[in-house]
Point group: C2
Chain length 263, copies 2
């Protein structure tokens, strides 16, 4: 029987709120067995960029990553947020390691080619870029990897990488050797049919429903790439859920997704 | 026979210079076998602090660490500099991990008690605070730990920690199981008798000479705590050297310290 591995992505609105982050980490630390945390840190990076006078440009919700912005993200994601999470998890008896895709050559990305838009130092990543051996070594030794949303190109450069995508490729790659459960945690109860009603979350979502909701405009904006990643991962891993951070631990303890199950 | 472990501390003036840093990392990556790198990043943190309007106060060459300054240091040391070094080392076939003392609970520190000066979020660290087992696991698995100068208190807080001290306690702790060679690399040829003459470096320095040079004012300022650490480590490890970064690889290859040997 394969061992269970929980891959959890935590969203920006939880990270931005100190009390919510601590509550989430307390729950995360209680997940039994092998686990991986993936985080971004969007708003804090944007605020720090303003303070430093680094203009932040978003195109279709994606951050255009100049060399200065890459430095900013490296500081904020891998430094400020990642290492703060690691210190908090250590106090909660979880033996965390604060990593990027460069650490241990864990996630090799490809700098995105310029088509219509030059996104700069941004990577596309695939499950084949994940170094399964390194991650297995960490997990087997009892460490809990905490990944900031950065990969590297193997040529000495870090690359900004979508955190939802990082979680998906980690989950898919590790599914070769683990029974992987992937959960996207954020401040809503799931994929909402009515954006103003937190109880309107879908209990399940399959591919044809997803396409239909997108065409109807019910699923919009940042939720679309998140669900693209979730749907792709669902082909390969044991379960994929999109749920409120407060419902993570209960969902794992009861082996039921209190949120939206991606089929 | 014990395995050899090289612990190398790299100074701020090398880190601040992109070409010098890359040249140093090329040499570091060629050190055979097990190795650990320790870095600070003083000037970049000071510059970033100015840009962010976080006033930086130094008392006797030590940085007073407010909560804001701790965040600044965490961003710059563990994020910007640490992860940039990791990405560069990966391109040089060195399987680096960018760590703080919180990662893997590697270095537990004690927040410095307020005597005459409140240094804020600053730690004192001892060899007993080093998690030998975690470091052995990383080294045995082929990873090269790259430590930013931060420890943690086990209660969820990172703490600013002198980089020379971090290198010394890592070297002393690991000397229980490795033949440890500790090298402090910077932009001078060694401990200079005449600060203006880079060729005036002492070939060797023992404890009584050190005390005499300090009382004569030949050894001054930041060099005093560095040498305190070096002298303490020399009691326990196989060799301690203070040398120019350009002379690191040659010193290791020829098993001779081209710089100042601390006896």
């Amino acid at each position: 029987m394969m061992k269970t591995l929980h891959v959890v992505k935590i969203g920006g609105n939880i990270i931005d709120n100190e009390a919510a982050l601590l509550a989430f980490l307390k729950d995360f630390s209680q997940i039994p067995g092998d686990k991986i945390l993936v985080h971004g840190g969007g708003k804090i990076a944007t605020q720090m960029g303003e303070k430093l006078g680094i203009p932040q440009e978003l195109i279709d919700g994606r951050r255009v990553t100049s060399a200065e912005t890459l430095d900013l993200i490296t500081m904020v994601y891998a430094g400020l947020i990642g290492k703060r999470i690691v210190a908090l998890l250590q106090s909660l008896n979880t033996n965390a390691l604060g990593l990027t895709g460069a650490d241990g050559n864990a996630i090799l990305g490809q700098k995105r080619l310029v088509k219509t838009v030059d996104y700069g130092f941004v990577a596309d990543v695939e499950p084949s870029g994940v170094n399964q051996q390194a991650i297995q070594q960490w997990l087997s030794a009892g460490f809990t990897p905490v990944f900031a949303a950065l990969s590297h190109d193997g040529q000495g450069h870090l690359l900004n990488t979508n955190a939802d995508r990082v979680a998906a490729v980690l989950a898919m790659a590790m599914a070769d050797t683990y029974e992987v459960h992937l959960k996207y945690c954020f401040e809503k109860n799931g994929v909402l049919q009515d954006i103003h009603d937190n109880d309107s979350y879908l209990r399940t979502l399959d591919k044809s429903q997803f396409e239909s909701y997108v065409s109807q405009g019910i699923i919009q904006q940042g939720m679309i790439p998140k669900l693209d990643n979730a749907a792709q991962a669902a082909q390969k891993v044991a379960s994929v859920g999109i749920l409120h951070a407060d419902h993570l631990l209960k969902s794992i303890q009861e082996n039921t997704i209190y949120g939206t199950s991606i089929l």
